[in-house]
């Protein structure tokens, strides 16, 4: 028989579980304090998509997103986790409404932060209009929650990445943590290749995809604030760190963010490839960045990566 797994502590289990590989439910179970998660509108309520049956497609009882509340190191948090394997984690009407509702609840209460575990290819094609509306509603709900002092933290490290409307929502968050396999962008590799040609972007060149959209690049660019190793415990620690770091939000902060992005564009717009950007940022042997182990990369990013605490 195989070795029993009972004697392992929750932290050890979380450390030994790949965030990339885990389901949305497992991520939440291991991210939060053990046994603290309480789901809102759980699968037994069967709030499924009203659109998929029209296309003769299978539904999922939670419509691909798990929302609820729990505790992180004893303090209450609201959480939402997308299931990247169900329709690529894409936003549909119900899926989006669950997240909007969670953010509005956070705004009403005002003091409980929100963690969003993104894992999404964007908007579900079969419910495009409802999905696009959901993205806009969620972006507004994020900004409204932040403007009354709620911290909204994005955690990105799932198989479907954080694309399309998900990338837009992530851009509205107070702070982001990302792991190496996590990806953040609006247009996906295939979309770019289809629209601009393979010479512009070869979507099958996975090294190119990851050094352009992957976690390490996003961390070095300052788009993500913390780099997590690919396990749930590291994401838990990253979330705690970010909750401690995020300061008050207001118009000044938005202006600073605008300036940070404008400055980035000025400095780096002539770079052809991510490696050129890393070189421009002062990294010696930039071509070796993708091969760096997590601890060495974190040390490098802490030295080089530009994060403006005044911005976002």
């Amino acid at each position: 028989m195989t070795a029993p797994l009972e004697d392992i502590t929750p932290a050890e289990r979380a450390r030994g579980t790949s965030f990339y590989e885990a389901s949305a439910r497992t991520r939440l179970e291991l991210l939060l304090d053990a046994g603290s998660f309480i789901e809102f509108i759980g699968p037994e309520q069967r709030e499924v998509s009203p659109h998929l049956k029209i296309f003769d497609l299978p539904e999922q009882f939670d419509d691909g997103i798990v929302v609820g509340r729990g505790r992180l190191d004893g303090s209450p948090v609201f959480v939402a986790a997308q299931e990247g394997r169900f329709m690529g984690g894409a936003f549909g009407e119900v899926h989006g409404a669950k997240l909007t509702g969670l953010l509005r609840a956070a705004r009403e209460i005002g003091s409980i932060p929100v963690l969003i575990l993104f894992d999404t290819g964007g908007v579900r094609l079969q419910e495009a209009n409802a999905g696009e509306l959901a993205i806009a509603e969620i972006m507004r709900a994020v900004m409204e929650a932040r403007s009354v002092g709620v911290k909204v933290i994005g955690l990105i490290g799932g198989k479907s990445g954080c694309y399309g409307g998900g990338g837009l929502i992530a851009g509205c968050c107070s702070a982001l943590a990302v792991s190496e396999p996590g990806r953040i962008a609006v247009s996906g590799p295939e979309v770019i290749e289809t629209n601009r040609g393979v010479e512009e972007f070869d979507s099958r060149d996975r090294s190119l995809v990851w050094r352009t959209m992957g976690g390490k690049h996003r961390r070095l660019l300052g788009a993500a604030d913390v780099f997590a190793d690919d396990n749930v415990q590291d994401f838990r620690e990253a979330a705690l760190e970010l909750l401690g770091l995020v300061g008050p939000f207001g118009l000044d902060k938005l202006k600073a963010e605008q300036e940070r992005l404008a400055d980035r564009l000025r400095r780096l717009s002539t770079c052809f490839d991510a490696v050129d950007i890393w070189t421009a940022e002062g990294i010696a042997h930039a071509e070796t960045v993708p091969e760096l182990p997590a601890d060495q990369f974190i040390a490098l990013a802490d030295r080089i990566g530009r994060i403006s605490r005044d911005a976002r």
Binding site: S18, R204, D205
Partner: protein
């Protein structure tokens, strides 16, 4: 199908001219040599020494090759002489046509374009994985005159008997000015092809990535090489043996656990070959975890005839594997192999030396077990990877997955298997048996059943009017079938009916499985012919991905200490 053929340099053409020049008609015994010298002179016009510019490659081939020649275009399931195949495809049809291609692999689109254009007409080959659909269409359409589909070793054998090439077009990493070749980690078929061609008055043309002052090691001596074409870029190599651990399913893990505990352990299998499927990759990744807990380290899976599978890195790093001989290399594994020369065969330069013919022979004679997956298994245990619209060829699997009737040395698993098959035979006179294991899930991709009443290969043979259905492994060679439902030991079956029910008894919910005789299957289980997970002390709920020593390509890179450099298509960093 097999036809004994005369060589292209037929006495009627070349010999006649010489005879007229002589005072009286006499037999010449060196016409082939004279022909070869003529071909070399014709090609030499385009060469500086032996070196020909890439832009002149087609002209070189037009000078050297004659209509109807038997040409070996090097390429197998891994490396390809891609520049030379493109050059041949561009040939003037009035100078080169109706060639008889003899080659391990029909893999590149150009390989079939040759037949579409009429450059080539007849084909003898072994493997056609990526072109399996198109080659089937062309065979149906009569575009290709098929000699036979072979196993690698069988085709190599025929290079020396009745399919000897007049011209070989090969691929190497580098050459020196004299023509010594370095074939590097992917040596593969080159020594065999060159041996058969150069020593029988044929012409050898090599494409090389680079021309260097001194080659790192001499894989092919210069006097067997007639022309060298410098390619602008490295020859193509397919990373065929890389299985991403991220794609291994719970069902494959369960099946792998059953194989380890139900076959590897009781027979004590130390010398073996693995196929390339995900089930065998799962076995490789379970050795340092599940296998370790069973106390099997050092007792199983120590010596392999196997390509450098990245999935075996954790087992190597934890000291399970003592020695591996390889058919070819694997993209990204070169630095790791170089650093683990105690395990792999390496040259004085430090890089892998692979050799397909020797490794196939090793798999046939020196391994006690072959374990691999297939697409279809029938009620007698015959297996095939042919479907009605695809002909993938055989490659090497049948050489591994066949009892070697010429084997004479004993070993524990071989004798035990022999005794199970013939318990009443006289001990000193009883042959052993190689363990030939077919492993797979009862339903494959797109829920296609693994078990069938009748193989698609039979329908194909009828449609194409073949004399022999393309069977990958014959039922009488198969000793075990493993699925997620259990292990069937066919060695213990005494009648055809028992054998059929043993197969149905592990065929799960396929039509074949649901039509089992339940009482007979229960009886076979009591006798240990069929063993379920619970009979082996395995709980299917324990078969989860946390059991794998590596769950991603990145994990394999970590296990290798950063020495494994996977190709871009397998990265997510």
């Amino acid at each position: 199908m097999t036809v004994i053929e005369t060589t292209g340099a037929s006495p009627g053409l070349d010999c006649g001219g010489e005879a007229r020049r002589g005072a009286k008609a006499m037999t010449s015994w060196q016409t082939n040599r004279a022909t070869r010298d003529g071909r070399i002179s014709a090609g030499a016009v385009l060469a500086r020494g032996k070196i020909v510019e890439a832009r002149d490659a087609t002209r070189l081939l037009e000078a050297v090759i004659r209509p109807g020649d038997r040409v070996c275009l090097e390429g197998d399931n891994q490396k390809q002489a891609d520049l030379l195949s493109r050059a041949l495809l561009a040939a003037d049809l009035s100078r080169i046509n109706d060639l008889h291609m003899v080659q391990s692999g029909v893999v590149l689109p150009e390989h079939l374009d040759l037949f579409d254009r009429g450059v080539a007409k007849r084909l003898d080959y072994a493997y056609s994985g990526p072109q399996s659909a198109r080659i089937a269409r062309m065979l149906f359409g009569g575009k290709i005159e098929l000699g036979a589909v072979h196993t690698y070793l069988e085709l190599f054998a025929r290079y020396f008997i009745d399919l000897t090439p007049q011209v070989a077009l090969i691929a190497a990493v580098s050459a020196d000015r004299d023509g010594n070749l370095y074939t590097g980690p992917n040596t593969e078929d080159t020594p065999t092809v060159v041996e058969a061609t150069a020593f029988k008055d044929g012409i050898v043309i090599a494409q090389v990535n680079d021309i260097v002052e001194t080659v790192p090691r001499v894989d092919i001596p210069a006097d067997r090489v007639h022309f060298i074409v410098k390619s602008g870029k490295p020859f193509f190599v397919e990373p065929l043996f890389t299985r991403d651990p991220a794609a291994i399913t719970e069902g494959q893990i369960l099946t792998a656990m059953l194989a380890i505990k139900g076959i590897y352990a009781p027979y004590g299998v130390q010398r073996l070959n693995h196929g390339i499927g995900f089930s065998t990759a799962a076995i490789e990744l379970l050795l340092p975890t599940f296998g370790e807990r069973l106390g099997l380290k050092g007792r199983i899976a120590t010596h392999f005839a196997l390509n450098p599978h990245p999935a075996l890195i954790p087992a190597i790093e934890t000291g399970w594997v003592r020695q591996i001989h390889s058919f070819g290399s694997e993209v990204g594994m070169d630095d790791y192999i170089r650093a683990r020369s105690d395990v792999y065969f390496t040259g004085p330069d430090g890089s892998l030396r692979s050799n397909r013919a020797f490794c196939q022979t090793a798999g046939l004679y020196a391994c006690d077990m072959f374990i691999g997956s297939t697409l279809q298994i029938d009620l007698q245990g015959n297996s095939s990877t042919v479907t009605t619209s695809r002909i993938a060829g055989f490659g090497g699997a049948p050489n591994m997955g066949a009892d070697a009737r010429g084997r004479r040395h004993p070993s524990e698993p071989w004798l035990k298997a022999g005794a199970e098959a013939d318990p009443d035979g006289a001990t000193l006179m009883r042959r052993g048996r190689k363990l030939v294991v077919q492993i797979g899930e009862t339903f494959g991709d797109k829920n296609v059943p693994l078990f069938v009443e009748r193989l698609d290969a039979l329908e194909l043979a009828e449609k194409l009017n073949l004399e022999l259905a393309p069977i990958m492994i014959y039922g009488d060679d198969v000793t075990h079938i493993v699925t997620e439902e259990g292990v069937a030991n066919l060695l213990l079956c005494r009648t055809a009916q028992e054998r059929e029910q043993a197969i149905r008894g592990v065929a799960g919910y396929t039509d074949v499985g649901r039509r089992r005789d339940h009482s007979m299957v229960a009886h076979l289980r009591e006798r240990g012919v069929i063993r379920r997970p619970e009979d082996l002390g395995i709980n299917p709920l324990d078969a989860d991905r946390s059991q794998l020593a590596a769950r991603s390509i990145k994990d394999l890179v970590r296990w290798s200490g950063g020495l494994y450099a996977p190709p871009s298509k397998f990265r997510n960093w």
